[in-house]
Symmetry: C2
Subunit: 135 residues, 2 copies
């Protein structure tokens, strides 16, 4: 483990499950793409490889974003918040971030008194995964 | 409780503590300001009042952002992610979001192998709070 990993890991306050929420934001447009979780190993791997790796709570293991779908997130910068309990990942998202085939996971908004979809899928989930589920 | 609240609350998957993470993003610049947590009451109050109200995990109660510091967040739009387990709040932030006096809580970044501060306080915490702590 090299020095930046030590700096970062010392600054991060992991929760009782050893996880910290990580916000992925497209580095140039500012679009918030998704939120997922990271453990220590996911942070170390992401910093070492430059490709974002999360921890999948549903699968209970490392989740290399795009390993199934090809929708890789290239890390541009990793930031830590004031309390150390949230990360912000500035990324360059290949294709779409959301497993529904939309660019961002935040495609539902409260507008005029109703929760409505504000973005359509750019690709079909079947194209992304076949029978798989994770991004 | 009116209809949009019902729509939203039905779409949200609260965690075992009855909470959901909420990302606050400045609506016009795209800057990610902070991440905090909301419970059902915080969502209902935020939608009703148009001013962002979180749930403070450290205090165990509703946290009306800016009630002490004056650094209010006006809600522009509330979005729900694909799985319903994260909210994105597009806000108009008065002053600064961070209790350290910085515009954003994400003021530390890994650059050139070290975790460095990339933004300075715009106001002092003493100006914001006196002896208080929450935003």
């Amino acid at each position: 483990m090299n020095q930046p990993d030590n700096d970062v890991l010392a600054a991060v306050r992991f929760d009782a499950n050893g996880l910290v929420p990580a916000i992925a934001q497209q580095h140039d447009t500012g679009e918030v793409l998704m939120l997922a979780w990271m453990n220590r190993d996911a942070i170390v791997e992401t910093l070492a490889s430059g490709r974002v790796c999360y921890f999948s709570r549903s699968r209970g293991g490392l989740w290399r974003k795009g390993e199934t779908s090809g929708q890789v997130q290239h890390l541009k910068e990793l930031r830590v918040d004031c309390d150390g309990d949230t990360l912000l990942l500035l990324v360059d998202q290949e294709g779409v971030a959301c497993h529904t085939g939309r660019r961002s996971c935040f495609f539902r908004a409260v507008r005029d008194g109703a929760l409505v979809e504000i973005a359509a899928p750019l690709v079909s989930p079947e194209q992304l995964y076949g029978a798989h589920r994770h991004g």
